[in-house]
């Protein structure tokens, strides 16, 4: 196994891009990443692109070939990955494995989704494909409802409050104000979240990430060559993934994601780190409760204490583990196939010192990205370290 580094990143702005198609988005992100890496398209030997449901959203499949075609990179080998909202994280991990194994020296990985060409109702049904169609959607369970079932039990077992969950959304919006790529660059208050109306109790509209169009991409290469292209390579020091039951009701617990615990443990072993060594986290806050559970399952606080942990400011800029300084899925937006790569990019930016000034940490060394598919049936965790 060889060490692997990130040498370039690129993304579109996230939002409702009514004038742009999926091919426009992925091409923009891919070209930006290749430019940022100071390489030529011909140096990139394979493409890995995460996309959850283009067939449902825009009627287009065969996304691997579409990426290679639209970026003018034929006949390069191109792959689409699908693991619901973890499609992007899985693409990153497969690209990492391809370079680590020695199969390729340089690859591009990315993620994309075009979600606003269809109605909100149809999009919600497409997203429900991330759960178990036959036992969840059949009975009327949408995705917010699935996470609501986790939130309700977390409240019951640990006394977590709706205000504590709301605070996650509030903090993320506060960070996104500074992020030029974010969908919602607007601060919100706990009162606004509490008044935003139930989607599936106890989750309200502003506990939920939005429908978003966007794409994100990175260029990876063997670490021993990284300095040939950039002064600021970022090393991937861990890449781990775990699976769990597709349906929530069959899990060992409703109050956490076992796959997150497993993937995190493996990632910490690979990188020889503990949560204390990590300077920042980009976690998968598709719903506010997901952020609280991620903090617990990744080992930053004890199970059940996520609400208090956030309330005490531990996830703020200057806190123990600054979390979602980008704005997270809640405020940056959640183009489902792209988010896993976008999370990784925002960790890389912090380590390179290129995050927006207002949220840039002072010289962070190690960051973690956490990407969840469905209600926790796939989890991908990556750890990154400053390589310069």
């Amino acid at each position: 196994m060889r060490n692997v580094s990130v040498i370039g990143v690129g993304q579109t702005t996230f939002g409702e891009h009514w004038s742009l198609s999926l091919r426009d988005l992925v091409t923009e992100a891919g070209v930006k990443a290749i430019e940022n890496a100071n390489v030529e398209g011909k140096d990139v030997q394979a493409l890995f692109g995460g996309c959850m449901a283009s067939g449902r959203f825009i009627g287009q499949e065969h996304i691997g070939a579409l990426m290679a075609d639209q970026m003018g990179m034929n006949p390069v080998a191109a792959y689409r990955t699908e693991a619901a909202c973890a499609s992007g994280g899985v693409a990153l991990r497969l690209g990492y494995m391809a370079v680590a194994s020695g199969m390729y020296d340089m690859v591009a990985v990315g993620g994309m989704e075009k979600m606003t060409d269809i109605s909100t109702e149809d999009a919600a049904v497409a997203l429900a494909g991330a759960g178990d169609q036959e036992s969840e959607l059949f009975n009327g369970a949408t995705f917010p409802a699935i996470y609501a079932l986790m939130a309700r039990r977390h409240m019951h077992d640990f006394g977590t409050t709706e205000e504590q969950m709301a605070l996650c959304a509030v903090k993320n919006h506060g960070h996104a104000v500074h992020n030029p790529f974010a969908q919602f660059r607007k601060a919100i208050t706990v009162e606004q979240v509490m008044d935003s109306g139930y989607i599936a109790s106890p989750l309200k509209l502003l506990d939920c990430s939005p429908l978003t169009d966007g794409a994100a991409a990175m260029v990876l290469c063997a670490s021993d060559k990284a300095k040939d292209y950039t002064d600021k390579p970022v090393d991937i020091i861990a890449s781990a993934q775990a699976s769990d039951t597709l349906a929530l009701h069959e899990r060992r617990t409703l109050t956490g994601l076992h796959a997150t615990e497993v993937a995190a443990k493996e990632a910490y072993t690979q990188a020889k780190i503990t949560p204390k060594d990590i300077d920042l986290l980009e976690c998968h806050d598709c719903f506010s409760i997901a952020q609280l559970m991620a903090l617990e399952d990744l080992g930053f606080c004890k199970k059940g204490t996520g609400g208090r942990f956030v309330e005490e400011g531990n996830t703020d800029l200057g806190g123990v583990i600054p979390t979602n300084l980008s704005g997270g899925l809640k405020a940056v937006g959640h183009p489902v196939g792209a988010s896993g790569v976008r999370e990784a990019i925002d960790v890389v930016r912090q380590l390179q010192g290129t995050a927006p000034n207002q949220v840039q940490l002072k010289n962070p060394a190690i960051g973690l990205s956490h990407n969840v598919g469905g209600s926790g049936a796939t989890v991908v965790v990556h750890a990154f370290k400053k390589g310069f």
Partner: protein, 133 residues
């Protein structure tokens, strides 16, 4: 997506009769049915088993925004129920007073219409539960 007719038809025995699987090796019960016991894998022996018709609510949510074909039923309650044999399932909870729907509440099986495919199309039936007061 609404289920295609063949899928709806295949699931009739399981959904109408609450038929799950029991592993004769480890004793664990599953609903819906499985072909392989995740505990025992090839050492397991899964047999079709009628699930008990009572259990308790583990968690619940009141759904206000639903797939279009459930729209006319909003708001409705969903719950995760642990049956008396410890198998779990996700179900709607109906015919119950709002204040009685909570963690630990005892529930029993009902046979109900889930949705209509189209005004003159197939009707999907299945299981729902109600709180036993």
């Amino acid at each position: 997506m609404k289920e295609a007719l063949p899928l709806m038809w295949r699931n009739i025995p399981e959904r109408y009769n609450l038929l799950g699987s029991r592993c004769d090796t480890c004793g664990k019960n599953y609903f819906p049915q499985r072909k392989v016991c995740p505990n025992c894998r090839r050492k397991g022996k899964l047999v079709e088993a009628k699930m008990p018709e009572t259990g308790k609510i583990v968690s619940y949510s009141e759904v206000f925004v639903a797939p279009t074909w459930f729209d006319h039923e909003t708001p409705y309650f969903l719950a995760i129920v642990e049956l008396d044999n410890h198998a779990t399932l996700l179900t709607q909870v109906v015919d119950s007073k709002r204040e009685k729907i909570k963690e630990g509440a005892r529930v029993e099986l009902l046979f109900r219409r889930i949705y209509e495919d189209s005004p003159e199309g197939a009707i999907a039936y299945g299981y729902k539960f109600k709180v036993v007061s």
